[in-house]
Structures are given as C-alpha cells and as structure tokens.
C-alpha cells in the first residue's frame, strides 16, 4: 500500500511538471488552433479596453456593397473617443459563450463596462440545437477553470456535447412538437410544429393575392424562429444570470443589448399571433433583467426597420449601416451615464426613403391631437418603392383604440382622402409598438401629397415616440441588398 501511495505522489508530481511544460510551450499554440475565441479576451486585455462589447455576427456583418463597414462596437467607440473600447465577436455565440469570455478576463484587466448582446432568437430551439453549437462548445473547453493541461485533456476526450446534424434536427423537431405555445385567446395550434406545418400546407397569399411559395417559406421561417415562449427553465436564462452574478462580483457596469428583430416582416408574414409571442418574450427579458441593480437593458427590439435588415429571406440580426448605427447610438446613450464627460454626440444621415422622428416622447391629447407627420410630395416617391413600413411606439391609458395611424392623400384638386389604421397595442400604461406594411400603390402616386401621422381624437392623453417611416421595394433584390458579409 505504501508503494502504491508513493506512486500516486509521483504521478501527481509528474502531472504538475507536464502542466508546466504544456502551459509554457504548447498552450498558446493550442489556443490559436482550437480556441481562437480566447485570443479575443487576451486582445481586450492587451488593448487595456475599458468598454468591451460582446456579440455575434450582428456586430460585424455588413451589406456587400456598403461603404460604411464599421462594426456596431466601432460605431459605439466613436461616442467615447477617450475611452478605449474593444469587442469580442464570435459568430453564433450566445450567453454561455459570453459568460466564458467574461470569466476568462483577468481580474487585473481594465474593463469597466461590459455590453452583452441579448439576441431573442438565441433562446429558441433552433439556436440551442444549432449545428454551430458543437464547434462553439469545443472552443470553450480550453477556457474551463482547470489548469491548462487538464483543459487540454478534456478537449482530447471531447468533453463537450457532440451531436450529429440528424440528432440536432430531431431534437429541434421534438422541441417544436413538445413545447406548447399559449395565448390568452383561442389559437388554432398547440405548438410550433403544427403551426408551421399548417402554414406551409395552406400557403400565404402575396400582395397580388396569389399563393406565393417564397412568402410561405419566409412565414414558416419566422414562425419557427420566433414561435416560442421563454420559460424559466430556458438554458440561456441561467447563462445571463451567471453573467449578472459575475459582473457584480467584478464590479462591472453591465449592459444587456437586446437586439432589434425584424418585427416589420414578422408582422407582415406571420401576423398578430407571432407578434404576441415576440412581445411576450421581449417583455419577459425586460422584466427579468431591466430592474436588476447594476444591469441596464438597452431595448432595441423594434427600432430597426425592415429596410435596414440585410437578410431579407431569412431571420437574422444583420443590419445595414443605419441599423448598426441605431443600435450603437442606443447603447451609447445607456453608457453615457458611466462616462458623462467622455460622451461625444454622433450624427449620420438617414438612408433615402427613411424618415425617423426621434426618441423624444410626444403627448397627443385634446390640445394637440396630432403626432409628428411625414409630408411628402408624391413625385418624390421613387419608382421602385412599392411598400412603406410605418412603425412607432405608443403608451395608452386603456386598450381601446383611441389613437390611429392616418395615411392621408392630398389630391391635386385640394381634396383629401384618409385611411385609418388601428394601432396593434395590447398593453396599458406601458410602451408598446406597432408596425404596418402598406402598399405604395397607383392611387397614392396619383395624389399630390402624402401625409403619414398618428391622430388621437379622444380626450385621453396618449404618448408617442420613435415614429419611423421607410419606403422600400417589395422584395429587396439579392446581390444588391439582401446579402450579408462579415466584416474582417
């Protein structure tokens, strides 16, 4: 037995020496080869960054022909020229990845503020069981809390979930079948699997009222991507909770950057039911993290318009320059409180056909029933603009539709014709958003002037902000718009 114990001690000493040799001469090479994500942490430390932005492809994806090709984090850095800002960007990453990255930041690092991307789709089964998950998890093994030699052993023994594409596909389908979706009203389907199948089976009609396979496919994508309800056992929540705990321990300012989703398309293709789920999930995240001490949630959820989404035939958070700038401006606004003296206002021109009326809150009441109005001579409407997205945020005292979106056409003879659209507001006393996809038709073009505004005919006061009007072609053409490219 004594001999046995001596051998155990010798083995321990041997492992200690092997760990030293490995750390000294082999570890860095292995990190470069198998866990380049860890190099992002080292880079942030080497650059002595004070603000660090953690994101996935939403941070560094640009349109193919874009001239402004900066990342969201780079636009953010422009607001704080005197505060060193860095980023850790890895495609398909999510809260768990961010937690590992942050955990590996040295205690001596200069980081003060951490901006963590919160992507709604990352809570969904398709992301949780994504085929990118295995390589991502593999990258995290070398970042575990053990000595490097032990981590390398875990990597050698494949101590991470390895799932085949078939297995992942089956898990996703199983989740879609078994995860119920619940509405406060009667809904035809019990789960996403049924909903998606029925949508695919029935088909969707396009603007010309014809069954359109492309529309149907896109509607199904949206249903599968957003047709879920975040519940307390969602694995991402634990990861975000871990980030909060770690951030408190390290004394960082923590900012969760809730990314913009293409609510315009979701509404246009899958309608109010999907919007209900999206809003519910959005509210869940805001309620869970928005009130925590030391945590700021930047809510970009509905603030980027369809025209600013690069991928038009898929659900992504890839934005054109204007979209990236919008996100950066909101994050900067939140961080301003931590660096008031270093903040420098930034401006940028809106894209042609895009009109944004700002974040300022307007009260619409009996004294002033009209919100800000877009007034546009119809001869300035470009030939290829076939649709117009109108979106705004509203807060109203009850659920009656007391304020409406008005699209008014002023004809050459001085007469006016108005169409009223009820807001899709379901909440009372809270900010809620509406989005409309309207046709730029020949009647509109025949008029002299187009006016778009929100009108409150009631005596109850209604708050309005973030009014946004964007004109666009019916489909964005692949190759011109609708193709994304990672920024190097």
């Amino acid at each position: 037995m004594k001999k046995f114990l001596i051998r155990i001690l010798m083995a321990a000493a041997l492992l200690f020496v092997l760990n030293w040799i490995y750390t000294k001469w082999f570890y860095k090479k292995d990190v470069a080869e198998h866990s380049d994500i860890l190099e992002l942490v080292w880079q942030v430390e080497a650059d002595s960054c004070r603000i660090v932005y953690l994101g996935e492809s939403s941070n560094n994806t640009c349109g193919v022909e874009e001239l402004g090709r900066k990342k969201i984090s780079e636009y953010l850095a422009e607001y704080f020229p005197n505060v060193k800002t860095g980023d850790m960007t890895k495609e398909a990453s999510h809260a768990q990845t961010y937690y590992y990255l942050l955990k590996n930041l040295s205690r001596k690092s200069t980081v003060e503020t951490v901006v963590v991307t919160m992507n709604l789709r990352s809570f969904d089964a398709r992301w949780i069981y994504s085929n990118l998950e295995t390589p991502l998890r593999k990258q995290l093994v070398l970042m575990e809390d053990y000595p490097p030699f032990m981590n390398r052993m875990l990597l050698a023994l494949k101590a991470y979930p390895i799932r085949s594409e078939e297995e992942l596909d089956s898990l996703t389908r199983q989740h879609w079948r078994e995860d119920p979706i619940e509405f406060p009203y009667e809904f035809e389907w019990d789960n996403v699997y049924q909903w998606d199948s029925a949508t695919a089976w029935r088909g969707l009609r396009n603007y010309e009222n014809e069954y359109d396979p492309k529309w149907t496919e896109l509607a199904c994508h949206y249903i599968k991507s957003y047709g879920f309800q975040i519940r307390d056992d969602n694995p991402r929540l634990k990861d975000f909770d871990d980030i909060v705990a770690l951030s408190r321990k390290r004394g960082w300012h923590l900012v969760f950057n809730l990314m913009a989703e293409n609510v315009d398309k979701a509404n246009a293709y899958a309608g109010k039911d999907l919007m209900y789920l999206m809003k519910q999930n959005h509210d869940y995240l805001l309620n869970r993290y928005g009130h925590l001490e030391g945590v700021t949630v930047v809510d970009n959820f509905n603030l980027v318009r369809d025209v600013n989404f690069i991928d038009q035939d898929w659900t992504t958070e890839h934005y054109y320059e204007e979209g990236r700038r919008i996100i950066a401006s909101h994050v900067a606004e939140a961080i301003k409180a931590f660096y008031p003296n270093d903040y420098r206002e930034q401006t940028w021109p809106c894209d042609e056909g895009h009109y944004y009326f700002g974040d300022e809150v307007r009260q619409l009441d009996a004294a002033l029933p009209y919100g800000p109005a877009l007034m546009l001579p119809t001869d300035s409407l470009r030939e290829d603009w076939e649709r117009v997205n109108v979106a705004f945020m509203m807060q109203q005292p009850d659920t009656l539709h007391i304020a409406n979106l008005v699209v008014q056409l002023v004809h050459h003879d001085g007469g006016a014709e108005s169409k009223y659209y009820s807001p899709q507001i379901t909440k009372v006393g809270e900010w809620d958003f509406s989005t409309y996809d309207l046709s730029v038709d020949s009647t509109m073009r025949a008029a002299q002037q187009l006016k778009i505004f929100v009108y409150n005919p009631s005596e109850h006061a209604v708050q309005l902000k973030c009014m946004d009007v964007s004109f666009r072609p019916a489909y964005l053409k692949p190759g011109v718009k609708g193709q994304s490219m990672k920024k190097e």
Binding site: K3, F4, R7, M10, L14, L15, V17, L18, I21, Y22, F26, D30, H34, K138, F149, R152, M153, L154, L155, A156, L157, K158, A159, I162
Partner: protein, 472 residues
C-alpha cells in the same frame, strides 16, 4: 460509453475501487451493474437484445449439460441456441443488406413493390454474439462446464472492458477468472495503467490524427495526386491497426486493474511475412474463433488441397461478412482467402530453402514483410471504401494521378507520432507494453509514462473519430 471519454475516466476508477472494497460474493453483481451501465450509455434499449441472447444461451448450456446422456436432444439445444443467436445477428446486422439487395433485384426484374429495412445495428453485436456462441459450443463439446449462475454467465457475455469490440473471450479463460477471488495487487494496477496509457496514445494520438488524412482522401480520391492516395492507403493500414489495437490495449488494461487477464488480440501484425501469418497476428481472438468453430469442423488442413482451399475460402468470406454487411467486406474476405490459397500453393510448389547467409535471409524476410504489408494495405482499401465505386476511384487515382491533384500535406508532427508508434511496435515485437516496461529502470519507465501522457493529452486529435470496430 467509449474508452476515450471523460465519463469512462470517471467510471473506471469508481468500478475498480468498488471491486476491491466489496466482498467477493458481491463483486459479480457490481461488475454486472457496471457493465450494464457501460453498455446502456450508448442506446439503453439495445440491452434487451443482449438479454435475449444471454437467456437463450444460458438455458441452452444448462439443458445441454442436464441432457448430456441424450445426444440428439443435446444437439437440438445447441442448434436452437446457435440459430437463435444467428437470427439476432441476421435481423440486426444483415437484414438491411438483404432487403437492399432484394430491392435492387426486384427493380431489375421490374417488380414494383419492394421494401428496404432501416434497422440500426446495436453496438458490439458481432462480438458478444460470438462470445456467447463460443460458450455454447464449448459446453456442447464438453470442454466447459455449464455455468449455473445466471449472473456470472451474464457477466461473462457483458464484461465491460471487452464488451463492445472484444477480444472475443472463451469461457475457459474469462468465465473461470470471474469466479476467482482477486486480491488487490500493486502489480496489477501498475500493469493495467501502463496498458491504458499506451492504448490511449496509439488511439488518440496516432489513429485519430491519421484518420483526418484518410477521410479527406477517401472522400474525394480524384482530387489528390497518386502519391497522396497511396500514402492515404498506407495511413489507413496504420489507422485501423492503431485504432483497434489501441482499444484492445485499453480493454486489457481496464481488466488488468481488477486482476483479470484477457486475451491479446494483436502481435505486431505488419511484421507478418505472409497472409497466413498476418491472420495469426491480427485480431487473434476472431481468427482463433473461426479456426476452432468453423475451419477445423470443416476439416481444417487435414484434407486434400481443393477441399482445404474451399475451407479457407469459407472461413475468410464468413470473416468478411462478420465485419460488415456489404459486398466490399465480402470481397475483402474473399481476397484474403484467395491470396492465402495462392501463397500456400506457391509454397508447395517452391518450398522455402534455408539461406546460408544470415543477411540474405534477413533481406528476404524484409521483402516478404513488405510484400505482405503492401497486399494487406491494398485489401484495406476494399474494407475502408464506402462502396465499389469509391474503391475503384481510390485505385484509379493511385495509378493515374501522378501528374496532378492536391498533395496530402502531412504535418511533420504526424511523422513523429507514426514513427514513435512504429518504433514502439518494433520494440514490443511478440511482447506487450506492460511486460516490456517490467525490467526497465524506474527513471526510464517514468520518462516513458510522462512522454506518453504528455503526447496523449497535448497532441491528441481534437476531431471526433469513433472506434472503427464499433460498427461491427
């Protein structure tokens, strides 16, 4: 559970610890539970198939012994047992292949209705069914007493170190040892650990790195130049050897930790001077199984040449089909058998003469070894290819792509790993790593352990390559 997983590295010490802590009367139960856990880690429900085989063969063994004085009845029990075991094998391993081929035949004959099954092969089925059959045959022959304890018999079939890829044990060796009381001995732990470390090195460092190169070339042979294709063929010879040898060595080591000696499966097979010798050195437990239960009952070598050749072909074709339900495996077995016959015919025609010069003798032996290696390597192409088209592409690319195509771009460290393995294999000629270490100075031993552990941890492939023989 696979050996090269973190789960196994946790599982094994717990089992070994419990084994020595528990009293002898409870050890079989613990080992059986551990073996069930080990097997059910893959797909739990497949244990039911194993259970059917175990029940049938256990009952057959007992009944054969009880009715030893009634030869016809005894034979009937043997037949029932073997047929039912083979039926399990047939359904789970060969039915897909049969229905696929029937379906093709139906299509050729213009018959519209045909059906192809898609049954998933339970892991290690061929190994434990053969192990179970060997018990029944040995009891029938009277070489083995029937096991009356269902638990011990179950453990004999399911003993976790050799459950999924062998070695295919005989009851005379394993079943006997399961009944023996094993005392804790430092020597067993030491030898077991040595074998495990060496097994991990050859599987995770050598085989898995080679696998990456092999997979690339087999996926698209025409994209590579002839030298690279030939290199990939040679690499596969080492990959499959290191993969299977590595697994068997870990199995040996895991069993040794608890004092069990299971059979060696390899004896430097690539130093064989003929195909016949190769099969004495490669997958020994399977070769001897076929020898004892098929070849000898057919008449073995004590028959005329033609009959002997027939016996050999039967054995090798069966061995090919045992490996996998595909024409390529059958062809592979047939090719080995045919070459074996040709070699024998040539030896009969041109008997070997004793060389006067030692160097000439060594040179001739080296040439014979090289010839055998080249032939075995060429045959492995049939074994590795996904189908005949892939096999043809490999051979065509190997002889026609000298001018163009990509180079395999083998990293220098690959040569180091392969070189180390070849060196170790030569040093271990007709020996085993644990025995080889035995009389070396302690400092050298620990340096070797350190080197092997370091290479296994720091230089192992991070890509996922399942054990090749798992599919059989």
């Amino acid at each position: 559970m696979v050996f090269n997983s973190i789960e196994f590295l946790i599982f094994l010490p717990i089992v070994v610890l419990l084994f020595y802590v528990l009293p002898q009367k409870l050890r079989w139960l613990m080992l059986l539970a551990a073996s069930c856990t080990f097997y059910m880690w893959f797909v739990p429900k497949y244990i039911l198939i194993l259970l059917v085989t175990i029940i049938v063969d256990f009952a057959a063994g007992v009944l054969m012994e009880n009715y030893a004085d009634r030869p016809k009845l005894k034979k009937a029990f043997l037949v029932i047992s073997i047929v039912s075991t083979l039926m399990v094998l047939m359904i789970f391993k060969y039915l897909n292949f049969l229905t696929e081929n029937l379906s093709l035949l139906c299509a050729q004959l213009g018959i519209a209705k045909h059906y192809v099954t898609h049954i998933i092969l339970p892991i290690g089925l061929s190994f434990h069914t053969f192990q179970s059959m060997s018990y029944v045959i040995e009891v029938y022959r009277g070489h083995q007493k029937a096991e009356r304890h269902f638990g011990y018999y179950s453990l004999y079939v399911m003993f976790f170190p050799q459950l999924v890829t062998g070695p295919i044990e005989r009851p005379g060796n394993l079943l006997r040892q399961l009944h023996e009381k094993k005392e804790f001995r430092y020597e067993n732990i030491s030898k077991g650990m040595r074998l495990i470390i060496y097994g991990f090195f050859i599987k995770m460092v050598v085989a898995d790195h080679l696998g990456a190169y092999v997979d690339k070339v087999y996926a698209e042979p025409s994209a590579y130049n002839s030298w690279s294709v030939m290199l990939a063929m040679a690499f596969y010879s080492f990959q499959i050897y290191c993969d299977f040898f590595g697994y068997s060595t870990i199995a040996l080591g895991a069993a040794k930790l608890m004092g069990f000696d299971i059979s060696d499966n390899f004896r430097t097979p690539y130093l064989a001077k003929s195909i016949a010798e190769f099969w004495h050195r490669w997958h020994i437990s399977l070769s001897t199984w076929f020898r004892d239960y098929v070849y000898i009952p057919l008449g073995g070598s004590r028959v005329k040449f033609a009959r002997w050749a027939f016996n050999i072909l039967v054995v090798f074709v069966l061995s090919g089909i045992w490996h996998g339900a595909a024409w390529t495996f059958l062809f592979w077995g047939f090719a080995h058998g045919l070459l074996h016959i040709i070699e024998k015919a040539l030896r009969n025609r041109f008997p070997e003469k004793e060389m006067k010069s030692k160097w000439l003798s060594i040179s001739l032996d080296a040439l014979r070894i090289a010839k055998t290696f080249v032939l075995v390597t060429l045959f492995w192409v049939m074994f590795r290819a996904t189908d005949f088209a892939n096999m043809k592409d490999m051979f065509v690319a190997a002889v026609t792509n000298f001018g163009g195509g990509e180079s395999l771009g083998v990293k220098p460290e690959m040569w180091l790993y392969l070189g180390l393995f070849i060196l170790s294999d030569l040093l271990l000629f007709n020996s085993r790593f644990d025995q080889w270490c035995e009389n070396k100075p302690m400092v050298l031993r620990w340096l070797i352990y350190g080197l092997l552990i370091f290479l296994t941890v720091a230089c192992s492939s991070v890509n996922s390559f399942p054990f090749i023989y798992f599919q059989f």
